[in-house]
Symmetry: C2
Subunit: 420 residues, 2 copies
């Protein structure tokens, strides 16, 4: 092994150190609980897929962001760009082994060779729920209900699920006189209205060869657009599902960037902090068919784990999330107490108490306690020769400094009482 310049994390990628990894784990667990409460089942797909699968589904701009390379066998491969196209592949490939409708959740990382920016990484985590094989507006409504339930369970104080339909947009485009072959490209520009001003989007549309009259018509039609018949049924079902009126709004300017949507589309925004959407999804009834398989209707959404965590941290929604993994810390400050202390740690674990032991009996007690403090562990157990001979322990509260001598059973009860 040669000495090298110290390699660091690649640009646009990040390490998730324990504090952040812990809160992400808690968010994932909460989402999985909600997904499973609706009967969704887990799915995992490979990180690598054939380029033929990945390209031509998301739109021209997105295709450029797919990580592509040749593997050792000269196969054209790419890194997963989202979880929807792999789901479409899975359903096409295993149609006969899956119950239909197929309701699955999937939590995996996706990769985009995008310009890194604050809150935008080249690898990030998507949490997807989808229903494949169901054309009922109830399915679209259940997805919206799931989004609401997830955010409520995560203690979000404020959010809006924007709802629109590609059909509404297609009607707007037709009415405004947009040529059929430019419809998706115009929708991609409209999608930028939450990041760019209307003037900037108008310039982009003009560059795409749309006449100024048509551009004017687009914005007038958008303003006056109403839900189509299908979307009306989705909206009616939201009420039966108990979704609160304050949780969503119909917004005809919502476009969503990806090409594969065919019906209702949804995305969720928060007022603070200023980040993009935290969920995005919709109905995509033609994607399975485009894979050479039988057409199967589908609807679903992504919940963006990274942005959800950003909101939780920015708004301090989970003030107690910084607690340590270990509930108690056991110190061994002399080799002769090793056996006694190791057994105490082991017995505490058997009683369901997360217990960390400091594995270096050569170091000073103060070093041990400094470590426990740094890890935010609330209690420490110290056993010196006095305690060992009396089969007792010292339990120290590391926040208050208070310490008491007691039996193992008493320590156990005190720790269980803390409910930590």
């Amino acid at each position: 092994m040669k000495k090298k310049n110290q390699p660091i994390t690649l640009k646009g990628f990040r390490d998730l150190l324990p504090a952040q990894a812990t809160i992400r784990k808690q968010v994932k667990e909460t989402l999985v609980e909600v997904f499973e409460s609706f009967g969704y089942e887990p799915l995992e797909t490979p990180t690598l897929e054939q380029q033929a699968l990945l390209l031509g589904k998301y739109g021209d701009e997105a295709d450029k962001l797919v990580y592509k390379f040749l593997d050792n066998g000269k196969r054209k491969v790419g890194l997963r760009y989202d979880l929807t196209v792999p789901l479409a592949r899975v359903v096409s490939q295993y149609k006969n082994d899956l119950p239909l409708p197929f309701k699955r959740y999937q939590i995996q990382n996706v990769f985009r060779a995008d310009k890194p920016a604050k809150g935008r990484y080249r690898e990030f985590t998507q949490c997807d729920i989808d229903i494949v094989g169901n054309t009922s507006p109830l399915a679209d409504a259940e997805i919206v209900a799931l989004i609401e339930k997830c955010l409520q369970r995560l203690d979000f104080a404020e959010f809006t699920i924007r709802i629109n339909s590609r059909q509404v947009l297609f009607n707007v485009m037709e009415k405004a006189g947009v040529p059929k072959d430019k419809t998706l490209s115009v929708i991609q520009s409209i999608d930028k209205l939450d990041k760019k001003t209307q003037e900037e989007v108008e310039v982009e549309l003009a560059e795409k060869g749309i006449s100024s009259n048509t551009i004017k018509n687009i914005f007038v039609s958008l303003k006056n657009a109403q839900p189509d018949e299908y979307l009306q049924k989705v909206i009616a079902a939201l009420e039966s599902l108990g979704v609160q009126k304050s949780s969503w709004k119909f917004d005809p300017t919502l476009a969503r960037g990806l090409d594969y949507y065919t019906g209702p589309i949804f995305e969720t925004v928060v007022t603070e902090p200023k980040i993009g959407s935290i969920t995005g999804g919709g109905r995509y009834d033609k994607l399975m068919g485009s894979l050479g398989s039988t057409d199967l209707p589908a609807v679903g959404t992504t919940l963006g784990l990274d942005r959800i965590v950003d909101v939780i941290l920015d708004q301090n929604l989970w003030p107690d999330s910084a607690k340590s993994t270990a509930q108690v810390f056991v110190s061994i400050f002399d080799p002769s107490f090793e056996e006694y202390s190791l057994k105490i740690a082991s017995d505490l674990r058997d009683q369901g108490i997360n217990t960390e032991i400091y594995l270096n009996s050569q170091e000073k007690l103060s070093t041990h306690l400094k470590y426990a403090d740094r890890k935010n562990i609330p209690f420490a157990i110290i056993a010196g020769s006095d305690e060992v001979s009396k089969q007792q322990l010292v339990l120290k509260n590391l926040q208050t400094g208070e310490q008491t001598t007691c039996s193992f059973q008493e320590v156990l009860e005190k720790l269980k009482d803390q409910d930590i």
Copy 2:
């Protein structure tokens, strides 16, 4: 979107459909519980790393299996090959932000461009625990204790943790007269003794230019080797930690393939099914130093999720793992009952019962129940006009076919009693 030949999963990769994804999730949760009961904290690192980090750490044979490519910015990048080298990078990079000793767990996928075979995939999941910054034999012993506790908690009936030390092997090589610059290469061949016969390994050693006399000496020395002083201390600590004698054995032929080990090494095998090791690890005190950082001692292990799941399935260790995510299924077989049924489902979820609702009221009841049966959901709730008018429900046991008419409260109590 053009029609294409239907793309399928890449060779050597796999999709994990719900039944398998569910059991993997349960295994991961169990492992995390054990890791956290010892105070280990989670870490996540990127899938992509600089090639400079990945190469030259694992040995020449392994280097060929690293997925390497140029990204869009012409950077030499590669896919994560294990979780140990990324940990070493993280510790070097964030030394001042981490408590030392640093105890972390990490569950992520790794990639190896290996020839696919039964049970060998190009993407698989490693579950790693490591202690960085501790030279005490207690640390090595805690890793072994963790392996034992994990396998016990997973209901493994039979396993052996093989224990050896690189130091023992270095002594054997020196005694047998192996040239210093060939020591690691010879150890890599010795590592194959569990897959190849001694004769085959002898041929491989001869091809590496080792004299027949030296080869003979290697095998004699291996047979008579004893634990060195450090390993003796590790073994003594195992007893204090409550590790059972039957869980481990000293085995001087254990070599482990990777170059970075410097001290004790461990791996776990089972008698049935015939698969390779299910855990592998050891002490690697020089890896941080090789990254251009200060040397920091470290010890840890990988638990191979895929093989652990293979054992559980092959030995039928978890006979109850096939139960469905949903505890009860709610059917709506007529649009006029939609609101009533949706509310029942929503109320059950609020009471902590996982409830799936069939979202197509146009289909026949028998289609609904066939679906519930296919998903192994144990109970179904059916509400027709009679029940709706009396504010009652029919609860049907889908295993026995038995059905009773009762109130919501009675249904709730029956479902909670099932403890499903």
